[in-house]
Subunit: 804 residues, 2 copies
């Protein structure tokens, strides 16, 4: 049998190829240099000046910002790259900037192109506008020192590092005309998420997707250390990028003239290669994975700064990372160096009397939407089209009597998912880390396959579900698939990430950052709304009994719930029809992070479709068919949130009603978690009256919760009667268990809940309660003994249905 | 100036070198094959059998476990690798296994070596013991389907993927005689953390550290997809590993005889190379970074299973991932195939009548602690020596009057840290993602540098603080440094990770998994206690006003607080002396995840050393010098937890006392967060009486908290008077701010707290309260206006000291 690696038809695996020598005329070279200097002047202006923006008077201390903030280190390299890409941009779209705090390098370009002033008229292209443009940078009420939502032309925040390549790929999937120039810092390149995201090229179809042109910027230093990739040998570096499947071209040096010529030629060569591969694939039908070009730009950190200040290295060393001359206020020498340095860019020759870039240079950048900073893709809401959704009721599970039918909720959703993918063949992507089939969504493979641009083997025909045209994207990197989805939705499309619940914590920080991005976008009037980031969590804690303790963690909800109420939503549909209704809502929504938690196993069904829609629309409510308190105040409220725990809460209710029929029990189910919060803290929150109408304010509540129990306490802490709320949930107790045993360990099982209810009602129930309690305790112990003996749960657990 | 990459002196960058042909005699080959078959037989036994372990009677349905769980996919490859390493193990130590669910491949070896039976006498080496060994696998009350703490010889859980290489490096740092064989699954290799961890070789000193020998196991498939690295061309694969700085040797195929010969020769070659480089470095003083060897093992997924079953591929395809014949209970054909397959390994010829491996094969594995599964390093507590700690009081900040001295808490701790590193030159490591200097711990560089095995440039002499012998480890990958620290402590040593607070969420999931590992270890009697994992968070939210919204997230505490109370601890020292006292406690502790949150800026100091020790020992307490309720019940309790918020709470207290002198205010500070919890829920928790003696049960409490406010509500929700607790904390409000403005946005500022207190005491204060409130409101607005104008906070904010 074959065990050798399958080969894919790369055509250019011979390493770096030739680049045109000196493509720039001396006139072009001169203009590019002066334009470059203008951007660098603006960078320093942003870092230092609050007044006297064009140094038309001698620099004085009071012109300088009192608190110096921002980063100089990679500005020159970023601006340099941007300018060279702009040169040819009439052929392309979109810029995404990777490195962290080097925003001035790009923002300076956005200003010179005019986009900044069009977006923010008071940052006009004149002396006053420039002064305001400088002052607002890293200043209260102004903009951050990295790319933020307030900056036009950006869909990628520079705050947390690691996601530039995956965001870029997300943005070009299904945008066949787009090339994303992606500047990757050599600090960022050390992060795990970035290190594996180079492999995204195995998931890009050259026919239907655009291309990513990464520029790995070997700036040399991080905050305080050299970078790994800048210090390994060139041989290792080239092999590494070739090993990742790219064709690297190196532009290295510090001499401006040589660097301009080299970069101009290299960018042109790369663009030609990209167009050549696309043409081959699109016209000649050669759908394969080319070794796409990428650029390694090796330029000094803090390029064009003084090489040494006070006998310490500045240019080309880590000291250039943030403010290059930090002591200008106190130190006369540094103050003088700053003025001389700023004047060395010759602002008087670069700007008109009015304060605008001189016409000769103003002509350099492209116009209109060709300016990368004005690319509509970077304001994805402007090009977003609603998803085409068939009525989800077509996939309804037929529920005639609540709690008696077993059906696979997730498979049912998978059937609808297939229809969605059929109706939206260029507008929707399903992402997952190798779990879509395990998560029971494989119905989609009847419509489309998983994209795979790697090699193929004969056995792939035997259910491998791979195809170059596939629209499902799976790579065993939660970081990469999440990054793709963020890039895809931010650039105006729709999608869903499906993942095992326990390992979603891997991308806690990414989701945090995305939520922060969305929240700021909502404050920026010109940003149009983008599709919500939809995260479907399945293979949940209560059915990870067999995989054990490491696979049990429902705590992602706590992380999400810390983000702004304006942007986060959490849904725990109790059954299949509710799952359909919730997903329909999520697919139509914009600017949220929607987290949906649903089990993938065969599951008891409760609500018919009409009831499910009504229930999900309210977000929480009483289930009359499971309650016996009609027309009266209940003795006890049994509540649940989450599918598996709802079944146990219902079983507990049934036990209580069977053995203590005099008890009046109200059953409440919560789908929309934030309904528990007071209205003033969350837009979905309920008023005190609404809350009390469900939970009462003076009766004990036994609440069975899918996740860690204290989240419910946190959400309800100000509610009247909160001290009567008894929440059960996952308490970090697990090993290799059966489902019932796992529930028992954590107190979320039917017996435990029923006993808790009896404890709450001690005064009311007396001896009858004690007798029932003993019986439940015995049943619990017997069930566990059976599991230890057989490895299975008793049949009256697994086959349980609602008895009334 | 130099912009070309610095070269380091690699000696073997020419690619794969030659391996000895056919090193095994036919007798050795035969024995190895039979031993291999014995392990595979055990693997299938674990997956399927609960009785009839050696198939001494015909297989019956009732012999098979009712619920089939576990993974077959990579078992053969893992066992194969283990056996070949065992062959030479008299020269080496330690095994770490990377791939997820392939535990049977290794556990079967541990059993055959006898270690399993020594550890668990009832899993003896006889028929009964074997039956119990089989049954417990993936069975309630038994062990998990991946490497867990219950399995001897393991320090690396296979539950979440991505950390095998970083754990292995952590284990061999400062263990110069150890070679860690590290099996990396090709699924795991797609994760971000694993993808960047290959670069760990730039941080390994061949003189003082051991070596890692990775075996990249190209098993070909994940759950449901081919793997990237198994499907790229061999050319790309080799270049990738060379680019990462390794020398790859490929062993590929499925023919047992050829594979044994190739693996035997390759392992020997790799070991020789490692010893050669170590000798060169240690004897000849050539301290450089060799291109260390690694093995690429390409063997079929599910190797030795039937190639096809029912016309579908099994061996060499993703279907072999979990249970290879899932329908043995219902399907006669599969049942027969299973029996024939198990018998094909000839168990009757491999085991004695008693049920023990035959003596001829029993001689193959090494003896005693040479068995990898018995290596003391894998039970790190057995070799752990306490840290040598000078009395931290030596570094005390001299505080004569509380709240009047500004001093740098973190720098002070850094001075002590330097002393610790001096006293523990082979036993302690400080890790960080490029932030140790920024985090004000650079005093350590007077004692030791940052390890750097990459190339050097002349400017490194100018404050670069790099050296091959350095003991500080910095790489811009939170995943890698955290993985190193986990491996380092689990193998018996000590350490500290320092990180920016906002980006610690990047490793939420790693910390979760480590906490789970520690919790299970505590249940395993033979596991000795290891050093706690110490995580120091600084550059905290309240001083990220200038970096902005993306750098503001104190929510790691919520993630940690979800883990078992037995293993997690959270400390928020309010000042420098408390920080010293807390760190001393953490460095002495074992088996915890300690999270310490402390600001790195110049900070107001409150307690002299004696008071600090007393305060930290209690974990929380009244500060009498800040209170004026002596001998009486207070009108209000002002409480704080966290350094910056404590200063604001004190300033609010001062405002109230100045303007409303009749108010009796008690000031309470919390260092040990879990003190807030009821004692029954956390070992550090307080009783109802202890809690009420501080917070009262009937007076309003204004609590200023470092992190998200609801965490305090969650911890105190059952406390009497909880409805009177008003918590302020970070509410996800931030942009580019000044420190005061950021506090005001979130309501944690002095004015906001003072106004909240007045609102709580409306009934008591009347008009006097309203007047004071108006005044505070005005001061707040004026302060913000000043910040917007100047970019600075008013001096009476930045220079504030305790006035009484």
């Amino acid at each position: 049998m074959a065990t050798k690696g399958a080969e894919d038809a790369g055509v250019n695996d011979t390493g770096p190829s030739e680049v045109k020598d000196k493509p720039l005329s001396s006139d072009e070279l001169d203009k590019l240099t002066r334009y470059f200097h203008a951007t660098l002047y603006l960078c320093l202006g942003m870092l230092y000046l609050k007044e006297n923006p064009l140094l038309r008077e001698p620099l004085k201390r009071e012109h300088i910002k009192p608190r110096l903030l921002g980063h100089w280190g990679s500005d020159a390299g970023q601006s340099f790259t941007y300018i060279h890409f702009s040169r040819m941009v009439k052929k392309y779209d979109l810029v995404i900037s990777g490195p962290g705090h080097g925003a001035p390098g790009l923002i300076s370009n956005f200003y010179l192109e005019g986009v900044y002033s069009e977006t923010y008229p008071n940052k006009s292209e004149d002396v006053e506008g420039l002064q305001r443009f400088f002052k607002q940078f890293s200043f209260p009420g102004g903009i951050g020192s990295h790319m933020t939502p307030e900056t036009p032309g950006s869909i990628h925040e520079g705050g947390e590092l690691g996601y530039s390549i995956s965001h870029a790929f997300g943005a070009v999937f299904d945008h066949p005309k787009t090339i994303a120039l992606t500047i990757v810092g050599d600090g960022e390149a050390e992060t795990g998420p970035l290190a594996t995201s180079w492999h995204s090229n195995k998931f890009l179809n050259p026919v239907t997707d655009g291309a990513v042109l990464p520029v790995l910027h070997l700036n040399g230093y991080k905050i305080n250390n050299p970078t790994i990739l800048a210090r390994i040998s060139e041989d290792e570096l080239i092999k590494l990028m070739q090993g990742y499947g790219w064709t690297p071209y190196i532009v290295a040096g510090s001499n401006l003239e040589e660097m301009h010529q080299a970069m101009a030629g290299t960018v042109e060569k790369c663009v030609q290669e990209i167009l050549h591969y696309q043409k081959e694939a699109r016209e000649d039908g050669k759908v394969y994975r080319p070794r796409w070009p990428m650029i390694i730009l090796r330029s000094p950190k803090g390029w064009t700064a003084p090489r040494k200040v006070e006998d310490h290295y500045l240019e080309g060393f880590f000291r250039a990372h943030q403010i290059p001359l930090p002591k200008v206020h106190a130190d006369n020498e540094q103050f003088k160096i700053l003025e001389a340095w700023m004047r060395s860019y010759k602002p008087d020759q670069l700007f008109t009397e009015e304060g605008k870039l001189i016409p000769e240079l103003k002509e350099l950048p492209p116009k209109g939407n060709k300016r990368m900073s004005a690319n509509p893709i970077t304001n994805g809401g402007t090009i977003r089209k609603p998803l085409k959704l068939e009525d989800f009721r077509k996939w309804a599970i037929k529920v005639t009597k609540p709690g008696t039918l077993m059906a696979p909720s997730m498979n049912t959703f998978g059937e609808w998912m297939a229809d969605i993918m059929k109706r939206n063949p260029t507008n929707f992507r399903l992402m997952g880390p190798d779990e879509t089939e395990s998560n029971k969504l494989s119905a989609v493979y009847a419509v489309t396959k998983k994209v795979w641009m790697g090699g193929y083997l004969p056995e792939d025909e035997d259910g491998g579900n791979l195809a170059p045209q596939g629209r499902v994207k799976e790579m065993l990197s939660e970081h990469t698939v999440e990054g793709w989805l963020e890039g895809y939705t931010l650039s105006g499309r729709h999608g869903l990430l499906n993942s095992y619940e326990p390992f979603i914590h891997i991308i806690d920080s990414m989701v945090n950052q995305h939520a922060k991005w969305l929240e700021k976008c909502a404050e920026v009037s010109w940003r149009q709304q983008v599709s919500s980031l939809n995260i479907l969590l399945t293979s949940t804690v209560w059915r990870q009994d067999h995989n054990g303790f490491t696979h049990q963690d429902p705590g992602f909800l706590d992380v999400v719930a810390n983000k702004s109420p304006e942007v986060v939503r959490i849904y725990l549909p109790p059954d299949g029809n509710c799952l359909l209704s919730v997903m329909d809502h999520c697919f139509r929504s914009t600017n949220y992070v929607n987290t949906i938690v649903a089990d993938k196993q065969l599951h008891l069904q409760y609500l018919n479709m009409d009831d499910a829609i009504a229930h999900c629309t309210k977000g929480l409510g009483i289930w009359p068919w499971a309650s016996n308190d009609a027309g009266a105040e209940p003795d006890l409220v049994m509540a649940s949130c989450g599918d598996v725990v709802t079944q146990e809460a219902l079983a507990a209710t049934a036990l209580l009603r069977q053995h203590l029929p005099e008890l009046k029990i109200r059953f409440v189910n919560v789908v929309d978690l934030f309904k528990l919060m007071p209205h003033k803290y969350h837009p979905h929150g309920t008023t005190a009256e609404e809350y009390a109408a469900l939970f009462t304010s003076d009766r004990p509540v036994v609440f069975n919760f899918h996740s860690y129990p204290w989240l419910v306490h946190r959400l309800t802490y100000q509610r009247e009667g909160q001290q009567l709320m008894h929440v059960r949930g996952y308490r970090e107790k697990g090993n290799i268990d059966t489902p019932l045993e796992l529930a028992i360990r954590n107190g979320t099982d039917r017996f435990g809940l029923a006993m808790l209810a009896i404890d709450c009602l001690k005064g009311v129930l007396g001896n009858r309660g004690s007798a029932a309690r003993e019986r439940f305790e015995k049943e619990k112990i017997d069930s566990m003994a059976y599991a230890y003996e057989t490895g299975l749960d008793p049949e009256d657990f697994t086959g349980w249905t609602w008895p009334f």
